[in-house]
């Protein structure tokens, strides 16, 4: 979850540069909202509990995909998985505790609907889960593996980077594990500390052969997850866990796709480009509004969506 500022011309231009000094004086380890308050307020802020520093901003109801239903992020994920298992008879879902519905309720009801040979638990073994998933995918079946928290993905790092990513290349296109999708809850949640808060997309962002995707909302998540599952390359899909319940939107019931490797310009602007993904998109939207209001700066807000391969053209377009 990160943001960086770059202008079309390559120069960082922020009017009212004097406010920078004010920002430095403020103490606050929280996100931007805590920062841009007058000093007196943040003297108290240092001891205040920081839970969520953003407001989820839902997108307008999509009209072009048929009937929609109010869903939060985990329900949108369940809907995507439901659609996948219905369309694709070879699709299987596995991971730790997915059978009863998963620790974040993303797989609720799927085992009852599709059977215990299609939705099943694995023991506690991330390296085994991903390796096993690669094996399933190599035979042509669709494997949807869940890693319980992105923080636990590291035992599987070798399998992802050395086995999954390079399979097609090293076999000269004879074999591939393109029908593998790995899902993992991602990002800070306020009380997760070292091992339930990590955002490890950067570790995977430099590995050719895999795709890395992070959605910002339920509508985006369902479309992107369906695209990942159908994509003929191994994909890692990180789901911002703080949005599982907090993000609620109208989401189409039928399957639909949001394209991979395409960034979305959420708001057009002329002075500064702000690029973000996942939860931080909502923080950046607030920042853009504040910058317009308080500094008169026009920000362009881009949701990168796919971290690898990323949409260079949209970001760099003048």
């Amino acid at each position: 979850m990160a943001a960086f500022a770059a202008t079309a011309g390559g120069l960082l231009r922020l009017r009212a540069a004097g406010s920078e000094g004010q920002w430095r004086r403020l103490r606050g380890a929280g996100l931007l909202r805590g920062l841009l308050q007058p000093e007196s307020a943040t003297g108290v802020a240092a001891q205040r509990r920081h839970v969520a520093h953003f407001t989820f901003q839902p997108d307008p109801e999509p009209r072009e995909y048929g009937q929609t239903q109010k869903m939060n992020l985990f329900q949108a994920i369940t809907s995507a998985l439901d659609n996948s298992l219905a369309k694709d008879p070879t699709a299987v879902i596995f991971g730790e505790d997915v059978a009863f519905g998963g620790v974040f309720r993303c797989t609720v009801g799927l085992r009852d609907k599709y059977g215990k040979d299609r939705v099943f638990n694995t023991p506690l073994c991330e390296q085994g889960i991903v390796g096993f998933g690669i094996g399933i995918a190599v035979t042509g079946a669709t494997a949807i593996a869940e890693i319980q928290f992105a923080d636990y993905i590291f035992p599987a790092f070798d399998q992802i980077v050395n086995e999954a990513a390079k399979y097609r290349y090293r076999s000269g296109d004879l074999f591939n594990c393109g029908s593998l999708t790995i899902r993992a809850p991602w990002g800070c949640v306020g009380h997760g500390a070292l091992y339930h808060s990590q955002s490890p997309e950067a570790f995977f962002a430099h590995c050719p052969g895999i795709k890395v995707v992070v959605p910002r909302s339920p509508f985006q998540a369902k479309g992107l997850l369906l695209s990942c599952i159908e994509d003929k390359n191994p994909c890692i899909f990180f789901e911002p866990k703080i949005l599982y319940r907090a993000a609620v939107e109208q989401v189409p019931v039928e399957p639909y796709n949001v394209p991979l490797s395409q960034a979305e310009v959420i708001q057009e602007g002329s002075d500064v480009t702000l690029v973000a993904w996942g939860t931080q998109v909502h923080v950046i939207r607030e920042v853009a509004a504040m910058a317009q209001e308080k500094l008169g700066v026009s920000c362009e807000v881009i949701d990168l969506r796919t971290i690898l391969p990323w949409d260079v053209d949209t970001v760099c377009k003048v």
């Binding site: 920002w23 103490r27 606050g28 023991p123 506690l124 073994c125 390296q127 636990y152 997760g192």
Partner: protein, 385 residues
């Protein structure tokens, strides 16, 4: 160990009041304990053991302290004074106290995240533990570790990723062997973690190099919400070291745990290499405070264990029935323990949080201090270590 001596002292002085008042207690008593199942071992730990009154009172006090400390943590968590993750070990007191009774303070111990009991038995005070849970400066990790990251001398935590601590334990055992001071390392993991690949890598290294490592599987029947039958192809965890000898121990009986630990430590100290112990135990709470603990097991099962196998109750009955202590005396210990926990909780609630300046400390070992970026490039923290 200073703390143990002072609690012993308190135990004795209250005992002597009762002694003067009424009757004579036995000095010690012999008890029969369950025979351990053995794997690749000709003989196991003895089936009888002698418990002295002094030891009995000490174990009782320690187990009761762990029990009440965990229950107090439960209470503080529900009051939102403790936040984040909290994994309680009530029900498993015989494991931490029994293991400690079988080793020396100079031996080493490492475990995963259900570690509050071990933190106490390895020598830290309840105050430091509760203050760490509430994230205050008086905590043993200065408030920066929390429930899962508590450390003490010869106690290496307190680790979040299950299974990852086992190769670490093998490494500590290597250092013990290398230093030649006759020390052993107790490397604990749970029934869920027993299926992690790195544990088998550690078994191989420990056996190959004959490391003085006691691998201990704390089998409380459930890995989070998954029962052992649904997770493991073989639930004979004491046999899964394959070429490593193993014993299966009744983890609810502190005397059984103590004897098995002494046996295992002697095995390692004699240079025979690693050994594996499976402690069959049970946790009353769910996996963590966010798990009610009843969706994957019945309340009847929990109740049954509480009424038939509670480790504190088992020790108490034994001591009272063989005249090692009186019910009143043990009740007095209960009262003292409650007070100690209450005082510690007060401290843990009132102590201030660590100052924000310390957020960036101890990232690297660095001299001179350097600056660390915070949530954005204008927030900087000094990093000193």
């Amino acid at each position: 160990n200073g703390k143990m001596f002072s609690t012993l002292n308190e135990g004795l002085s209250s005992a002597s009041r009762v002694l003067v008042a009424s009757r004579n207690f036995a000095n010690d008593a012999t008890f029969e304990i369950k025979k351990c199942d053995l794997h690749r071992l000709e003989e196991g730990p003895p089936v009888t053991t002698v418990l002295t009154r002094e030891d009995g009172l000490r174990y009782y006090r320690m187990m009761q302290t762990v029990r009440r400390m965990e229950l107090k943590a439960d209470q503080l968590y529900k009051q939102k004074i403790i936040r984040g993750f909290c994994h309680l070990c009530d029900g498993q007191e015989a494991c931490c106290v029994g293991l400690e009774a079988g080793i020396n303070p100079t031996d080493h111990l490492i475990t995963a995240y259900r570690a509050h009991g071990f933190t106490f038995t390895r020598g830290l005070s309840v105050r430091e533990i509760l203050a760490e849970l509430t994230g205050r400066r008086g905590g043993c990790a200065k408030g920066k570790g929390g429930s899962m990251h508590m450390y003490a001398k010869n106690f290496y935590g307190g680790n979040g990723i299950v299974g990852a601590q086992v190769p670490l334990g093998a490494g500590i055992a290597l250092a013990c062997k290398y230093n030649g001071k006759d020390e052993v390392c107790l490397t604990l993991y749970g029934d869920g973690a027993a299926n992690q690949g790195q544990i088998f890598e550690a078994y191989n290294m420990a056996a190959l190099w004959k490391l003085p490592c006691i691998f201990i599987c704390e089998n409380n029947r459930y890995g989070m919400g998954t029962s052992v039958e649904r997770a493991a192809a073989s639930t004979d965890y004491y046999k899964r070291g394959d070429f490593i000898p193993g014993l299966r121990v009744d983890g609810m009986d502190i005397l059984c745990v103590r004897e098995a630990t002494r046996f295992a430590a002697a095995h390692c100290r004699s240079g025979k290499g690693p050994i594996l112990m499976e402690l069959q135990t049970y946790r009353y709470h769910g996996h963590s405070m966010s798990d009610p603990g009843v969706s994957y097991r019945t309340r009847e099962e929990i109740q049954e264990v509480r009424s038939k196998s509670d480790p504190i109750m088992l020790l108490k009955d034994r001591m009272v029935n063989s005249n090692l202590a009186s019910v009143e005396e043990l009740k007095e210990i209960d009262v003292e323990v409650r007070k100690e926990i209450e005082d510690a909780a007060q401290f843990a609630t009132a102590d201030p949080e660590p100052p924000l300046e310390e957020l960036g400390y101890h990232i690297y070992s660095s001299d001179p201090p350097f600056e660390v970026r915070g949530a954005n490039q204008w927030i900087k923290f000094k990093s000193i270590s």
